[in-house]
């Protein structure tokens, strides 16, 4: 009998990540060079020896499906493990797309019945953190709770963005406010739930009967009336990398020794088969190449200068090129003499010879997406190709595949470049 089954919600759209999440689900967005955001949650499961996981997908799941493979990279294969992708499906009961977190789990009750677990751990694949779920499960068991919610303190001014938990000294939830205007506590739900299986089944049935769809908005407030709900406090590093700025900052936290992210100690694991990282040689720093305060992955070739940056596998920085304060993803090429500053450069982009991308200016926000991009970063979508000698101002968004004439002579700050539009 399975003691704990994991249901991992990985359907997130990540709209505010703009073009970074346009062609992939948010959990599949690359992070810290060789990882994807979802790797952190999967590795937490692996390190807690939770080997049976259902992954609920919805938005553009192809890259996720490729990345997850058979689950063997996180010890979720073999006789005692399973990593099952659970996409939306149609059935005789007229199911539809997933309408919310709880609805997604509800539509996959057959997966839960099949394994008959004692309890179900519900996780989200959107966050960067390290948690030992075993401690949470222990507390849940010892307290005899029906439901346990992981929660962490957040600044009071941000409480309106979260599900807020009011708890007593016995770590028992006595009140719950979903995205309150006036919060009674600053303890925020992390969207991590342990349910006794029969409690989950019962509460989901009630939710479906009343037309609810979401754990935070519907299931938890309703269950609080009749269930013992515990809270598991968490105080470590945790980031929702849902915006371009929070994504950039969390990546850069990896370069700071005291930020709280500790990739080595966290034992984060990824799928090296995908993107053929396993077949890449150690990173080469060529004569004249310089590397400082940076993360450099396998297969990189650095003949230029790289500082305060993160290079994913297979990135090439040619002679005389300068890369400062950047996140450069798989197999992107920065040609000779180019200068790239404060930019997020997606996979297989090319920055042409002598081109200048980004600056330390922040004055003019992106005209089309001012709420997504105003911190001065340049975001280049997959396989965009900046022509030689071009300049691209701060707060510019370059859509995937833009190239050549799309850029004109000089791209002013705050622009949005689309392929074939100029």
């Amino acid at each position: 009998m399975v003691r704990t089954l994991v249901m991992l919600l990985a359907g997130g759209r990540g709209t505010r990540l703009n073009i970074l999440a346009a062609h992939r689900a948010k959990p599949a967005v690359p992070f810290a060079g060789m990882y994807r955001i979802l790797d952190f949650t999967l590795s937490n499961c692996m390190n807690a020896r939770l080997g049976r996981v259902g992954v609920l997908t919805q938005y553009r799941p192809q890259s996720l499906v490729n990345h997850l493979g058979s689950g063997e990279h996180w010890d979720m294969a073999g006789k005692t493990g399973v990593l099952k992708i659970l996409p939306p499906y149609q059935a005789s009961d007229d199911f539809d797309w997933y309408h919310g977190t709880a609805d997604a789990v509800y539509q996959n009750l057959n997966f839960i019945w099949r394994y008959k677990p004692e309890r179900v751990l519900i996780l989200s694949g959107d966050h960067i953190y390290r948690m030992d779920y075993r401690q949470m499960l222990d507390q849940h068991r010892e307290a005899g709770s029906a439901i346990t919610i992981a929660a962490m303190p957040v600044p009071w001014e941000e409480t309106h963005r979260f599900g807020i938990i009011v708890a007593d000294e016995q770590r028992r939830v006595v009140g719950f406010q979903e995205k309150p205007k006036q919060a009674r506590s600053n303890l925020a739900s992390m969207g991590i739930y342990v349910f006794e299986t029969e409690v989950l089944l019962d509460e989901l049935k009630r939710m479906a009967a009343s037309g609810g769809t979401d754990f935070g908005a519907d299931v938890i407030p309703s269950a609080l009336e009749r269930r013992r709900i515990g809270v598991f406090p968490f105080t470590g590093y945790w980031r929702d990398v849902g915006t371009i700025d929070s994504y950039f900052d969390a990546n850069r936290d990896v370069l700071k020794p005291d930020s709280g992210i500790q990739l080595a100690q966290w034992k984060v694991r990824t799928n090296l088969l995908y993107e053929s990282v396993y077949a890449m040689p150690p990173a080469a720093v060529r004569p004249g190449g310089k590397l400082k305060e940076s993360l450099v992955s396998a297969g990189c070739q650095v003949a230029g200068k790289v500082e305060r940056s993160i290079l994913s596998p297979g990135v090439v920085v040619e002679k005389g090129a300068e890369v400062s304060d950047c996140i450069v993803m798989h197999r992107a090429v920065i040609r000779a003499g180019a200068r790239v500053v404060r930019a997020i450069v997606d996979k297989r982009c090319i920055v042409g010879e002598g081109a200048v991308v980004g600056s330390y200016e922040t004055a003019i926000p992106n005209a089309e997406f001012p709420s997504h991009l105003s911190s001065g970063l340049v975001v280049m979508g997959k396989a965009a190709d900046v022509p030689a000698g071009a300049t691209v101002g701060a707060n510019t968004i370059v859509f995937p595949g833009a190239s050549g004439a799309d850029f004109g002579d000089a791209v002013p700050p705050g622009s949005t470049i689309r392929p074939g539009k100029r």
């Binding site: 990739l263 080595a264 090296l272 077949a279 040689p281 150690p282 004569p287 305060e293 993360l295």
Partner: protein, 428 residues
């Protein structure tokens, strides 16, 4: 490559690599950061499209088996694609260890299924070859055996098999490691045999009743005598790290794409889990560090200055340390303010703060192998420890698990022996 099965000769243990191969098959020796020598022929076989590979070995098999596993790392896995490590076995007639390469192949002929041809390659050479080119030559000339050669100096040919060939590339005669080579063609131990020819000559060899049987001695010269052997001339990069000096030179070639050893163009596959890159983060170079003309594997932490060096996964170089022309294998730690010049450190060596290892001055060859270890390198055996403030001269070797005492001085050309009991990794 249709109808071709391959054997990889991975059994050899050589003494001339000093403490690096004291307890290790040469094909399993780490090279270029994340690889082992056997990855190079294995990757060539994968890229050439060979579907069935038998790896012949009997020395310290367990680490080789862990590394090769089912061949998935090289993509040679599937319904009719497989890699097997073929260890010695006992049967009704066979009760012995492999007695040479020819014996090893002979005793594993039943690994062959329907294949008409057999490719036999060495497991410890560094090169990037599409064996299909050899096959084309073989088919074009209708040879019984086609073998690869490269031009070396005649002097160098004394340590190879050499051959005289006619203008059409047909091999006229073959000598193994001749004292005075008559040719500048050295054999690369890449043999493509017609299967029935191989079986015929192996059987003949087995009837001679010798103590051991080698392909280069008991099979190849005999097939040459039949006049049906073709040469395939290779002009690409090829290295055979037989000695400490060879190993150091090949390692420096890794840093120089002009040498022909271009890892960024070759596709070399390894078993990432065994190579230690499965569980580690990308290499991290701090604000204090300087890295130039080097290779950094995943999991390295560089806080000092690294030049012209190769770092395997998990190497740590602390603040103030200077590492020049070094090969540091998995998990080596270099303490603060150490100065390392031409150090080859095996896995998990610890060098404590303030040590000085190697130097740029002239030094007599290592006394234990004066022909083979002259490049100045300091060889630190697996899990050895150099305690704080020690100074170690050039052309020296430190045995696995040995300790160089704090503040002590090790003279040029000398050997540091292990004092305690055999380390755990040497017992089995």
């Amino acid at each position: 490559m249709k109808n071709v099965a391959a054997f990889v000769l991975a059994g050899g243990r050589v003494a001339d690599l000093g403490v690096l191969t004291l307890r290790r098959a040469k094909s399993a020796l780490p090279f270029a950061g994340v690889y082992r020598f056997v990855d190079f022929p294995m990757s060539n076989l994968a890229l050439s499209g060979v579907d069935r590979v038998g790896v012949l070995s009997q020395y310290r098999l367990s680490s080789l088996m862990d590394h090769i596993r089912n061949g998935a790392s090289w993509g040679i896995v599937g319904r009719k694609r497989e890699v097997h490590v073929l260890s010695p076995f006992q049967g009704e007639g066979n009760v012995d260890w492999y007695r040479g390469t020819a014996d090893a192949v002979y005793r594993n002929l039943n690994f062959l299924k329907g294949e008409d041809r057999v490719l036999i390659v060495s497991g410890d050479h560094v090169y990037h070859m599409d064996y299909n080119r050899l096959l084309e030559e073989h088919v074009r000339t209708g040879a019984h055996l086609t073998m690869a050669f490269k031009r070396f100096t005649r002097e160098a040919c004394r340590s190879f098999g050499t051959a005289d060939v006619d203008s059409g590339g047909r091999v006229l005669s073959y000598q193994e490691k001749p004292a005075s080579p008559r040719s500048d063609l050295g054999s690369l131990t890449v043999y493509l045999f017609e299967r029935d020819v191989l079986e015929h000559y192996l059987r003949l060899a087995m009837q001679t009743g010798k103590e051991s049987y080698h392909l280069y001695e008991d099979v190849v010269p005999q097939v040459v005598a039949s006049g049906k052997v073709q040469s395939f001339l290779w002009d690409g990069y090829w290295a055979y790290a037989r000695t400490v000096d060879d190993y150091f030179k090949a390692s420096m070639d890794v840093l120089d794409p002009a040498s022909g050893l271009d890892l960024d163009r070759w596709e070399v596959f390894t078993n990432a889990d065994q190579a230690g890159v499965g569980d580690v983060a990308p290499a991290y170079v701090t604000a204090l560090a300087g890295v130039e003309d080097s290779r950094l594997s995943p999991g390295c932490l560089v806080n000092g200055v690294v030049r012209r060096s190769i770092l395997s996964p998990g190497v740590v170089v602390e603040e103030g340390a200077q590492v020049t022309e070094c090969v540091l294998m998995h998990g080596v730690r270099v303490g603060r303010n150490c100065k390392l010049h031409r150090v080859i450190a095996d896995k998990h060596v610890v060098i404590e703060d303030g040590c000085q290892l190697g130097h740029e001055g002239a030094a007599a060859p290592f006394a234990g192998a004066p022909q083979f270890h002259t490049c100045g390198a300091v060889l630190l055996g697996r899990e050895s420890r150099v305690a704080a403030g020690a100074r170690v001269g050039a052309n020296t070797q430190v045995e696995p698990a040995a300790v160089v005492a704090a503040g002590s001085q090790v003279d040029d050309s000398s050997l540091v022996k292990r004092m305690g009991e055999e380390p755990w990794f040497a017992r089995w």
